[in-house]
Symmetry: D2
């Protein structure tokens, strides 16, 4: 069996998710090269050391450059704060690595574009961490819509709302640093933007309002010193799609009580789909025109009939979890590398998403509709 | 327009429900005689007086005999504690009245049978207050099953669970007096029994266990004196139906947190139905054999396509409430009287339900399956 | 007991709802004057005649002027297409009647203002048909927010979406005539606007986009001839509130599969509330700061603890329906008349709502934020 | 890092689940010996070969004896049809291996007892595959109940219902062979029995009814030849617990539309818990006595506050899936081996569960309550 050596940068929330997902991908999916965890880097050397031990990396380092420059490594996975993505991604690309970089790709579209161009010129595969697209039900939804089962699309409502910054005492973190991009919009909004494009295609114009409701936060966990917040914690957009319909997209860090309200509803002339990541193994489908006495939204449960669920479990009703969709993401990236085929969502797609975020910011500042060129 | 004069006995929970329902029935339904509230009786004269005023009865009395013997009255509605039903119903029948009596008809099947015989001999119309059968969705469910849409019926699970006696400090009341029949089984269990028969037909055998979990209660609201409880607060039955399938039926007064868990699920070879009175305007339907990728339980919402919803509202999605189904009950009773047709569920049906309760008690005592003859 | 004589104009969807609600109000609520259905008017004389018979009006007419000018009548209820409200309301006010007029009050805010001024000058009571505010759970939500239980309000999301125009073959009707005001925005959007104000107070600015997705419809039911549609079928707004928070408000006629998605979520620093009219007897409440292991949204079910539910039923878990909240509306109007106290929502409130709609239209046309003055 | 060598028998549904879970356990959990997939056996040699390749076992075999007798192997995992468990488990124990055996442990309690005795004499660790107990929410529920948060327990309702045999054309399989034990009762019923014991402790008596609704099935997939079915496809039990409460337990293979209705509700004097594996990341909790206006069932979502969720993901709202709970199962087994501590649920617990099944069969045959000794 072929193997691919992985270099991972970052040992935080996503660092762990990547390490687990690469390992699982090689186990769950038979048709792909087996990823081997080779080197882990974290600026916090002790974290890197522990991480190496836990996940069985061959070695660890405090210096991420050692990862991107290691000649044995095939894939570099970047899971550091967004502000750092650009430098690391460019270096990895320059070293000829295939690069997975967490979302959002970078603080601005122009930086993202720089990375895209470097990657495309270098001919390396790229992957952007919009993991929610990997849910078998979302793939099914996309194909369902594409095949015309919903008829003409009338409207889209999308939101990604969580409450992890709802408490005004939730402290400042790198996510609050405007140098790293917008706040809720980049952090969670990018996910629902990616879904809107995945299901319905390109957006053409945006009107946005960005709020910063909680204006000060403790400078660090438990601090009494307060730091001013200059990124949005709630973002609202009205958008239009190239295919002709309109919709709303929202991002929210202050949605008290909500842990994962990544939700959409799509209405069309022949039917509708409704989904929330809060119940990620369920998709609601309404088929217009059935006998009205016995018609209503159907609660579809994921199963082997929604590939690649069957790789995880042969029977319907046995839920996939978040780590499983991250596993699908890694498997698809490796498959694309194996076959020399396009990966998805790649850095170009991440740039498209970042453009929307940048344009939303401009719309908010200028208080005007903006065309997406 | 024809009118029918109503004599009502009892001004409690159900007394009010009847008064409102008779008035609404005449307004909502065009094709029936208009019920006119004529005389109200309650042993508590002050309550009767206030009730008369509020609902516009022509007169009131402390003596229920004045109701049953009033020559102007066409229909007598009995909403007193169960223990009192027999005497009142027999007197009303003897006076040639059509009689509506709340459920359960009486503490035992033999008393119920006495009433049935008297009514059938007298040729008066009778109605028993199993109101939940009047939900348009239940009528639809019954017809749906009867027409074979679920195929061969495999199994039934039914329960009526509430928590109104869950607190051990909820006091003793007439519902706890064994002279009035069983406890939870008669009080709420009779409803789910009525539904099981309505949807699936006669039962043939029963195994039952009756529990009295809370063994003492305050003798009256707020009392420190405790009174022993000798009726069941949880009842469980395994049952068989004449049509060949089996199932479970439960009654529960101690279902902490549940306000109206009157629920059933029916599985068949071609489909399934699931319902809970907690969401009385929704019926879940699963149709076997549809494309498995887009199949699942459908959430049907009541609408004009489920008669007689349309009499209340012309548009789907505008919920019916409890008082509306009580209104349908009264309208159907009056229509039966108008047309000289059978009413349903009549006293004979109430007797059938009471037989099941009696046999459940016997099964519990003898710890044996019992045949329903 | 005092009585109030009702003159009703219109025998359609709302005409029936009013007739039933007046009758029920007198029965359910003890403390108010008893409404008596006196005269019914409909331009379709045959409908008026049948309606009179069904609901027991003293008389009927084809000429609505006979209602407003009838000296015996105390209250005039207007349930005709919106375009006709102004003339009828002004005439009724001029005749010194208390006036209930269905929502929206009129096609434009300036017409609404004319009516408000006339009514206030005449000193008559007015009521506007925003019935959803009468749900006991919404009253509870309003008080809950006002008492600070949610802390500082962060955000509001509101929508009223139905699918009754989702099928492109759903025909043109008076609701599609721009002379009567906007489309979905006025028709259903006005409800969610009324809720946003009811719960959170005045709005200060709006950005709106109005869509007309289905551009042609059959000229009448079954017609092959098509008529152009010049009103919105989907409307989206970003709004700000005087209290400092922002939100979204949407209206939709094309929400395939949705029968009554009148929904909101309000997040605050101490908690959140979520509600949908699809489950009008349930309110979701999240209380921030509870032990995270056992915390989550609570499903509150309506009960007597949420007045005036107890007037309908003494026990929790017995649902109210749409007609019941219409009954509460009528009872409150009558009580206001009885006591000479302000009614709510009155015509002034309806004018406030209409202003928002007008300003939304302007925002859409000018593609700009608009201040609500 | 220590390693433990795994020998696996069986490459079907559970064989794959075990292989994935052992691999993931070593990655997710830092504190345990790393399991290494050493040898895979399947009577179908080609399956074994492919499985070896996919999951990276060191070798494969057609002969399971080679697994149990391989001196390098530490743990033997048995995932063959139930009928075969006994011989394999006894051989593995005899060879001094720690043994994981899928549920149910064996067709009868007496065989299970033989295995338990052998294992306890040999002093090896054992684990039984009742994976649903490994859900962090179930662990939380158990501790919650044990700490008295629900007060005195009133009642238990449990069911495990699926529809995978609902279609009469679903063929005969080893699950239908009475030599392997009961049908639905052993197959899915054993899970809900394990949960009832996990949460509430020992059962004391049972009354059971076992149904065989579908009496013939195709002899093999697609066969026209039919084979008689002699095991139950629906099983119903009324049970009592040592702690004093009663309840129901059901198993069902014919629950049309249900993919994983593994569900329970527990009511107590101070609160209630409700759970369904259909939404395995949610637990409903009702706390009695809170302000009734804002009280209701709370929807708890799994998070790091429910260990060991945090090993998989640092943030709440990111679902665990079925494979994750199987991973927890394996990690706990390995930890027990590492520490020389009891594992749970071990073979003795599996025997306790099997006793209940045997006694249920006896109760069904004798149509009598049976005491569990
Ligand atoms: N796909 C998804 O659903 C999610 C994606 N993300 C994205 O993943 C990225 C990382 O986020 P988290 O894992 O939540 O952050 P985190 O703060 O948990 O982890 C970041 C890690 O990067 C390390 N790091 C920082 N500077 C470094 C340097 N110069 N060299 C090496 N290591 C360095 C830190 O020590 C830390 O271990 C972000 O871009 C974020 O937007 C985060 C959460 C979910
Ligand atoms: N269909 C349904 O869903 C329900 C049916 N019921 C049934 O309705 C009946 C009454 O129950 P509730 O209304 O809840 O009881 P309640 O206790 O609220 O009211 C009983 C009324 O009967 C009066 N009463 C007692 N003795 C009397 C006498 N000798 N003469 C005249 N009046 C007398 C009492 O003063 C009281 O007003 C019972 O049979 C009960 O099972 C009760 C609740 C719901
Ligand atoms: N509160 C709510 O939830 C709802 C409010 N409405 C509002 O109620 C009003 C009426 O709507 P619907 O009842 O649905 O309309 P509809 O079309 O069902 O009924 C309108 C009635 O007015 C009559 N009418 C028309 N011109 C007349 C005239 N010159 N004189 C006398 N009668 C005349 C028609 O013959 C018809 O009976 C509208 O303003 C609408 O927005 C409608 C539905 C729900
Ligand atoms: N924990 C859980 O949730 C579940 C547990 N199970 C249990 O797992 C066990 C296996 O069930 P499944 O995996 O569904 O069965 P399966 O039929 O999918 O797989 C059984 C495997 O055993 C192999 N096998 C048969 N005889 C053999 C022999 N003599 N030597 C070596 N291999 C042999 C077969 O070739 C097949 O690969 C059963 O005891 C079942 O009750 C099954 C499904 C779910």
């Amino acid at each position: 069996m072929n193997t691919l050596k992985i270099g991972l940068i970052g040992t935080g929330f996503m660092g762990k998710a990547h390490a687990l997902a690469y390992q699982a991908a090689g186990n769950v999916f038979e048709d792909i090269s087996r990823p081997v965890l080779h080197k882990i880097a974290d600026i916090d050397g002790e974290r890197a050391r522990l991480f190496q031990r836990q996940f069985g990396f061959a070695s660890y380092t405090q210096d991420w450059q050692e990862v991107v420059n290691n000649p044995e490594i095939d894939i570099v996975s970047i899971t550091t704060p967004t502000l750092l993505h650009r430098e690391m991604a460019l270096a990895a690309i320059a070293a000829g690595k295939h690069v997975h970089c967490e979302k959002p790709l970078s603080p601005t579209a122009s930086e993202a574009w720089e990375i895209v161009q470097a990657a495309e010129k270098a001919g390396v595969r790229t992957q952007s961490g919009f993991n929610y697209l990997k849910n078998p039900l979302l793939k099914y939804a996309r194909d369902f819509i594409a095949s015309g089962e919903l008829g003409e699309i009338y409207a889209f409502n999308g939101i990604h709302a969580e409450d992890f910054m709802s408490d005004p005492l939730s402290p400042y973190s790198w996510r609050c640093d405007p140098a790293g991009g917008t706040g809720a919009l980049a952090d969670v909004g990018s996910h629902i933007i990616s879904i809107s494009r995945f299901l319905l295609g390109p957006l053409t114009s945006i009107f946005a309002q960005l709020d910063t409701v909680v204006k000060q936060r403790p400078a660090y966990p438990g601090a009494s010193e307060l730091k001013e917040i200059n990124v949005d914690d709630v973002a609202r957009m009205i958008v239009t799609f190239e295919r002709g319909c309109s919709g709303t997209i929202q991002a929210n860090w202050l949605a008290t009580g909500r842990k994962m309200q990544l939700e959409f509803e799509i209405s069309g002339s022949k039917g509708a789909l409704s989904f929330t990541q809060e119940r990620m193994n369920e998709l609601l489908y309404y088929k217009a025109g059935d006998d009205s006495r016995s018609n209503g939204f159907r609660l579809i449960e994921t199963g082997p009939q929604h590939p690649p669920y069957g790789e995880f479990c042969v029977a319907q009703g046995h839920h996939l979890g978040f780590n499983d969709i991250k596993t699908i993401e890694m498997a698809e990236f490796i498959r694309a590398i194996d076959r020399g085929e396009p990966s998805s969502p790649d850095f170009r797609e991440a740039w498209e998403i970042q453009k929307i975020i940048d344009i939303a910011v401009r719309s908010h500042r200028e208080r005007q509709w903006q065309i997406i060129s």
